[in-house]
């Protein structure tokens, strides 16, 4: 059973503008499968539909047509939610809670039993290197620290599949390295990882396969395991895919 299965998924945004509806395409007829244990990257320019795809899978948006499954559960579905760990593109947290409280809160929501939860919180705080700051309120946290809290909350219920939206956007080089190491560690644990980014060099370092989105359509899937010089080749493929036909890159 594939971890993620998307069939003909379409999402059209409708906005009322002086009573006249205006439509814009989120994604169009998307088909995709991600295997268990695989690290899959969605690559695309801003507005190409990366976040839309992830939100549809998480049940934050509802599809206009088509369907999507997570481990066989048709989304949106509460059972599927139990299998998912999610980190949004920027860490949106309650600032009045401490690191420990917020992880505990999400753990409770996911139904992790009390004893197991406390043990898991200690483990995770250690993993993301926040043990010392566990009782500090999030108001006092830097962006990198918040991102690490985000990772911890995404892992509290031991999910099978992780969704990371623009994981490293806005982080400093140290933060980026930390995140990459964390991802590789999760990969070792055989978690399925579904991430989106527009930074090719980072995707190349962690992903097994990459899907390239352009204006809401999945135009190409690249298996990085078959490429030799991943960085350069992917960049070339990406640019040639997303650039309008007939336009050449002057290097």
């Amino acid at each position: 059973m594939p971890a993620v299965k998307i069939e003909n998924l379409t999402k059209i945004y409708k906005k009322r503008y002086f009573l006249k509806p205006r439509y814009s395409v989120g994604i169009k007829n998307l088909n995709l499968e991600v295997e268990e244990g695989e690290t899959f990257g969605l690559l695309g320019l801003n507005g190409s539909g990366k976040t839309t795809t992830i939100k549809l899978l998480l049940g934050l948006l509802f599809a206009d047509s088509g369907q999507a499954f997570i481990y066989g559960h048709k989304v949106p579905d509460r059972q599927a939610s139990n299998l998912i760990g999610y980190l949004p593109e920027a860490p949106y947290f309650y600032r009045y809670l401490s690191a420990q409280e917020i992880i505990n809160f999400y753990g409770r929501l996911s139904g992790v039993p009390e004893q197991k939860r406390q043990k898991k919180i200690d483990e995770l705080l250690e993993l993301v290197n926040l043990t010392k700051n566990r009782h500090k309120r999030l108001t006092d946290f830097s962006k990198g620290m918040l991102q690490r809290v985000g990772i911890a909350q995404a892992l509290i219920h031991d999910p099978k599949i992780l969704f990371f939206d623009e994981l490293i956007t806005g982080l400093d080089p140290v933060g980026i390295t930390e995140m990459r190491q964390l991802l590789l560690r999760l990969k070792e644990q055989k978690k399925t990882i579904f991430l989106s980014s527009h930074i090719i060099s980072e995707i190349v370092k962690v992903c097994d396969r990459v899907g390239i989105l352009k204006e809401g359509s999945l135009v190409r899937i690249v298996d990085l395991r078959q490429l030799k010089n991943k960085d350069e080749e992917l960049e070339k493929i990406f640019l040639s895919t997303v650039m309008p036909a007939g336009q050449e890159i002057v290097s």
């Binding site: 939100k55 998480l58 049940g59 934050l60 948006l61 509802f62 509460r78 059972q79 939610s81 139990n82 998912i84 999610y86 949004p88 920027a90 949106y92 947290f93 309650y94 009045y96 809670l97 409280e101 809160f105 999400y106 409770r108 929501l109 996911s110 139904g111 909350q153």
Partner: protein, 255 residues
């Protein structure tokens, strides 16, 4: 059932915000200032302090309650903290009910605190004795909140604008207190259209006047206990309907 953790963090959110304490302090000062007013009306001091005190408690709870309620969900959508909640195995109606109950607990705490201060003030400054109707009038203030908070919250989900929702709730509050007058008008008015409109308002807008025991404190026959019980039941039913409507709207919401 995930209602409890949601209610708990809503309470925490309020307790940890400084503005909450500043407002509470402000009202306690207001209640205290009723002493000054009461000195203007000799031999009715206790009545004046009671009236000002209960009015302050109600207005403060109303303002903070409506403000909190319309922002409960909208703020979370705006701050995008809603993303992480909605990707958890949390039913959407559980979220709505949890948020709602959390605010109610805070408002209940506010009312009790202010009521204690008011009773202390009355005891110290006048020869006041506790009348059970006094406690009932405080309880019915809370039941008014049970309704108006549900209205404010549901309005915020329907209108998706906190200003509109606040204005709407406020309007309902006013019409609700005017309810009995509306019925009297409806009976008198000639035009069929106006009659229909007035009756519709009378039957759809909650009748807050029946909860207004604080204005009935001096009334000889008071209000029989079984009617009070019916009134409380009415309040709860009304709130539940609104929460169901709110949940239906929220269930279709995209983030």
């Amino acid at each position: 059932m995930n209602i409890l953790p949601i209610a708990e963090y809503t309470i925490m959110e309020n307790i940890r915000s400084k503005i909450f304490y500043i407002l509470l302090l402000f009202v306690l000062i207001m209640i205290g200032s009723s002493l000054v007013f009461s000195s203007l009306a000799p031999s009715t001091e206790a009545r004046v302090i009671t009236d000002i005190g209960l009015a302050c408690i109600e207005m403060f709870t109303l303002m903070t309650g409506i403000f909190a309620a319309v922002n409960l969900v909208l703020q979370e959508i705006e701050n995008r903290t809603i993303y992480l909640l909605m990707t958890r195995p949390l039913r959407r109606w559980e979220y709505i009910v949890g948020r709602y109950l959390g605010v109610l607990v805070i408002l209940c705490f506010n009312i009790v605190t202010m009521l204690c201060v008011l009773m202390l003030l009355l005891k110290v400054s006048t020869n006041w004795t506790l009348d059970p109707m006094f406690i009932w009038s405080a309880i019915t203030i809370f039941f008014k909140m049970i309704i108006i908070i549900a209205i404010a919250m549901t309005a915020s989900l329907v209108f998706t604008s906190s200003v509109t929702a606040m204005a709407f709730s406020f309007l309902v509050w006013v019409i609700g207190h005017f309810s009995s007058e509306l019925k009297l008008m409806a009976e008198k008015v000639q035009s069929l259209l106006a009659k229909g409109l007035l009756y519709t308002l009378y039957y759809t807008v909650p009748n807050f006047q029946i909860f207004n025991l604080k204005d009935k404190l001096g009334i000889p026959e008071g209000m029989p206990m079984d009617v009070i019980a019916l009134v409380l039941l009415y309040g709860i039913t009304y709130a539940v309907i609104l929460l169901v409507i709110g949940s239906l709207f929220f269930a279709r919401k995209e983030f």
